[in-house]
């Protein structure tokens, strides 16, 4: 079974900034992304919990985006520019996929 190497971007970002991030990914013409909830966490700004919150100001989400290595750098730079002034974590890792032409 042939596999292809891709990059997996994982961005933990504040809920209110999620729309903006997705707009940037769309503008970079990535083939897609998935958003996973984050229910609590801790960082330089201290710990937080989603439970009971009525404002989404403090919540975070995790955006996962599989991109082709040829485009990874471009996407990363655009994403980095957006997340840089914000509470956010951006990691990149290597994954393999079967349907290489999809990404």
């Amino acid at each position: 079974m042939q596999t292809f190497i891709k990059k997996r971007l994982e961005i933990v970002i504040e809920h209110p900034a999620r729309k903006g991030l997705c707009a940037i990914l769309d503008a970079q013409k990535v083939t897609g992304y998935s958003v996973v909830p984050v229910i609590s966490g801790s960082g330089q700004h201290g710990p937080w919990e989603e439970a009971g919150q009525v404002t989404s100001a403090e919540g975070m989400v995790m955006v996962i985006c599989i991109v082709d290595p040829a485009q990874a750098l471009r996407v990363m730079e655009a994403v980095y520019e957006f997340v840089q002034p914000r509470k956010a974590i951006l990691t990149i890792s290597e994954v393999q996929v079967v349907r290489g032409e999809r990404f």
Binding site: H15, A17, H45, G46, E49, T55, A57, E58, P85
Partner: protein
């Protein structure tokens, strides 16, 4: 009734007691929590209930010229309170310009649950307020955000990459504003008869669900207090208590020329005195991402909201009675 009677009656009402229960549980580090989905739903429900009630009142009483006056006064307050708050914060505390602007936005806008609690207090003492106060509440939600953004831009030109237009769109289409305004018009269009079949949900359950919502607010406020030490100093706490009093006093003065009832006056003071905790924090994360959220959330939710709920409301009612009684 004297202020003391009002304050005591307020403190011993289930609504406030459940809030205190939540604060206590959070401070004791209980794992009690209300699922986020339920909390968000209750917030939405309160908006719908308040909006419908206001709309039905307007349908019954018709529009009066006072409406326009009250709306304009509300707009002005929402725009101007942030200027005042910003000046006070910069003079009295060590907050950076950005943080001060973000905090200021919260005090210009309003808190719907404080409004709900005010309506509950009026209900308990047998008073009502003008239905259109809901419209006043709705128009006061957004301008403060714009006002604060302009302040921040002037102080720190690169503070925000969001354009005013984007932000205006974002803020005026905020879910809670839309729900409040939408329900207001639905109540107005459908009128008392049309709304009657839904009143078991939106009227009869109002106080009970408010209790549960306040339990949740207590938990969130209590958890926020745990980190207050790190982010708030005494001057900021003082600001969180004095600012509502000052804003409320301004509103009280303005109300003198407005022909509002006692209940309406109290609601108007409460709107000015309350600080937003849903719409504005989210808008600030978008518009001023470098302002520290722990500061404005802790101030609004951990200091000003509990103060308003416990002592503020009876005080504002006593003031309204004095002015219009």
């Amino acid at each position: 009734m004297s202020f003391l009677d009002l304050a005591l009656g307020n403190l011993l009402s289930p609504v406030v007691l459940f809030f205190l229960l939540g604060v206590g549980a959070a401070i004791a580090r209980s794992d009690l929590s209300i699922p986020e989905a339920v909390a968000k739903f209750l917030a939405l429900y309160l908006m719908m209930a308040i909006g419908l009630k206001g709309g039905v009142e307007v349908a019954k009483q018709g529009l009066t010229p006072t409406l326009l006056l009250a709306v304009l006064a509300g707009l002005a307050l929402s725009f101007l309170i942030p200027l005042l708050a910003y000046a006070v914060l910069r003079a009295m505390t060590k907050l950076s310009a950005l943080d001060a602007a973000a905090v200021a936005a919260h005090y210009g806008s309003i808190s719907a649950v404080t409004l709900a609690a005010a309506l509950d207090v009026l209900n308990r003492v047998g008073l009502t307020s003008e239905g259109y106060m809901v419209a006043v509440a709705a128009v006061m939600e957004t301008p403060a955000i714009i006002s604060a953004l302009l302040i921040a831009r002037r102080a720190v030109p690169k503070a925000s990459s969001t354009t005013t237009r984007e932000l205006l769109h974002e803020a005026s289409l905020n879910g809670s504003v839309i729900t409040l305004v939408g329900a207001f018009f639905i109540g107005w269009i459908a009128g008392p008869d049309g709304v009657k079949p839904v009143s078991p949900l939106f009227t009869d359950l109002f106080r009970g669900l408010l209790c549960i919502f306040l339990l949740d607010m207590g938990l969130v406020a209590g958890r926020g207090l745990a980190r207050a030490k790190k982010y708030l100093d005494l001057r900021l706490v003082a600001f969180g208590i004095l600012m509502p009093l000052v804003a409320g006093a301004i509103a009280a003065v303005m109300s003198l020329g407005m022909g509002l009832s006692i209940g309406g006056t109290m609601v108007f003071i409460t709107l000015a005195a309350s600080a937003s905790y849903i719409a504005v924090p989210a808008a600030m994360r978008i518009a001023l991402p470098q302002a520290e959220p722990a500061i404005y959330l802790t101030l609004s939710l951990g200091v000003t909201f509990p103060f308003n709920l416990t002592l503020g409301l009876p005080l504002y009612l006593a003031a309204a009675q004095m002015l219009k009684g």
